[in-house]
Amino acid sequence: METSESIFVVIKKAILGFFHGFLPDWTVVIISILISVTAIVIFGPVTMMFLTWLERKVVGRIQNRYGPNRAGIFGLLQPIADGVKMLTKEDIVPRAADKVTHFLAPVIVVIPALLVFSVLPFGRGMAAVNLNVGLLFFLAVSTMSTIAIFMGSWGSRNKFSLLGGMRAVAQMVSYEIPMVMSVVPVILVTGSLSMVSIVEAQLGGKWFVLTPWGFFGAIVFFLCGVAEVNRTPFDLPEGESEIIAGFHTEYSGMKFALFYMAEFMSAFAIAGLTATLFFGGWDGPLLPSWLWFLVKSYAMIFIMIWFRGTLPRFRIDQLMGFAWKLLLPFALLNIFVAALWQMLPAPKNLIVSGIAEAVILVIVFFASRKDSPKKRTYVFAD
């Protein structure tokens, strides 16, 4: 129990202790940094590989078929087969493309997707960096993927790519606001931006999702997160039935795979962040902490895949209306409810904030009018 709990921390300490024997102090610091970096750089792509497998398997089950089952047992070697296929594919660059931008976009899109893992606490004492502005760092860095999507869509010189890129940015700019607003209650209650102290505030089963504001905050945050990583039902930037593949229409081979990788790693990061902020992170009984974190994150991932297997794509006006008319006012009022919960004494706050939450939910739901496109009047030439 004790060893499985801190196995990764113990391994790191052992490696550092080995090098400390004959190397000067400053190299040990650098080796310590390198170990964390290597762990993240390996963890990200491996997670991505098996998320592709999981997604195809689960969506297959939802659609009453088997999913991949040829390569290896249960198709577990399918991601490796895919990787070999992607690497050996011809890399096609359109003649009119802006060569530098077209090449840099898939490289840059992976960077924020990997960087955000550095502040996620994977277990007790297992955050690579305990930044005191960790949560803001996560939000700030994840916005940078927009720039890469832009570069890809503009550098391809393709109308479908450009349309996809513009959709992507409109969506990300809109959903970022309710997303940031929905984490404000967490900051308000814990009084810290550090991910580690946010988890520590929820230790012992006091998960924020069990409070009225936390429950709805988690829903708002998760929906915004799904929209941020362009997954169904928010996958307008790459809606394949409308604009081929959106911003990565002109990419093939490994460059396409990098876009794919960034998308899945961001999806996992959002799932992990939801688990950290609202579901107690690595807190849980019996099992070691890092396993709890993975279980919670994969539960979130499963919900995302479930969405994909169930829901059709939004229309663009529905997408915008959902963010601005429903999620944003609700996230704003949720801050007020969290303040009520924090200020009132213990038994009273649950009732008062619960009632306030219910009232707000009803008001926001009925105040946001059903959005239907304006009736067009056509003026014909005589």
């Binding site: 400053w26 650098i30 931008t101 803001l136 760092f137 940078m144 503009w154 009084g191 931006l193």
Partner: protein, 169 residues
């Protein structure tokens, strides 16, 4: 730990160098989209400088606001403006000498005033830990009046933007 200290210093100079090089690119590149990308690099370099000065909060806010929001808007404006991103536009005109001499004059004055100022260092402020909590408390207590005024200005701007952007009824 001397080596680490020097490495951190090297990082600071590297960030400064990248910032300056990207700043030159912003004004010399011919394609406006490339200029915008170079400007992003400048802003990231400034964020890196903040980090090396132990102001992580400012660095993160810099990325969140400038790279995440403002540059996204700039690029969006470029993409929405028809065909401006396709062309390679010469960025300088024939008034280079004139503006350069004016700028040199201004810079001479500016650098002179920087050198002349004696820069009193407040030891308490040097070691103060300026994190988000301290800033927030300062906004809500000492500087509440300017904070409120900025809030009002922002709300006016928001309402104005909504009125301007409203489709004709």
């Amino acid at each position: 730990m001397d080596v680490l200290h020097n490495l951190a210093r090297l990082g600071f100079f590297a960030a400064t160098l990248v910032t300056l090089a990207a700043a030159v690119m912003v004004v010399t590149l011919r394609n406006i989209f490339h200029c915008a990308l170079a400007l992003i690099l400048v802003l990231l370099g400034v964020a890196a400088t903040y980090i090396s000065l132990k102001a992580e909060f400012f660095a993160v806010i810099q990325i969140l606001l400038y790279v995440g929001a403002i540059m996204t808007l700039v690029i969006f404006a470029i993409m929405l403006t028809s065909r401006i991103g396709d062309k390679t536009v010469l960025q300088n005109n024939r008034q280079g000498l004139m503006s350069f001499s004016l700028l040199a004059l201004f810079n001479a004055f500016f650098i002179g005033s920087v050198i002349k100022t004696s820069w009193h260092l407040n030891p308490a402020a040097m070691t103060a830990n300026v994190d988000a909590g301290v800033l927030g408390a300062a906004f809500m207590n000492e500087y509440v009046f300017p904070f409120e005024i900025i809030s009002v200005v922002l709300i006016v701007a928001l309402v104005g933007a909504i009125i301007l952007g409203r489709s004709d009824q």
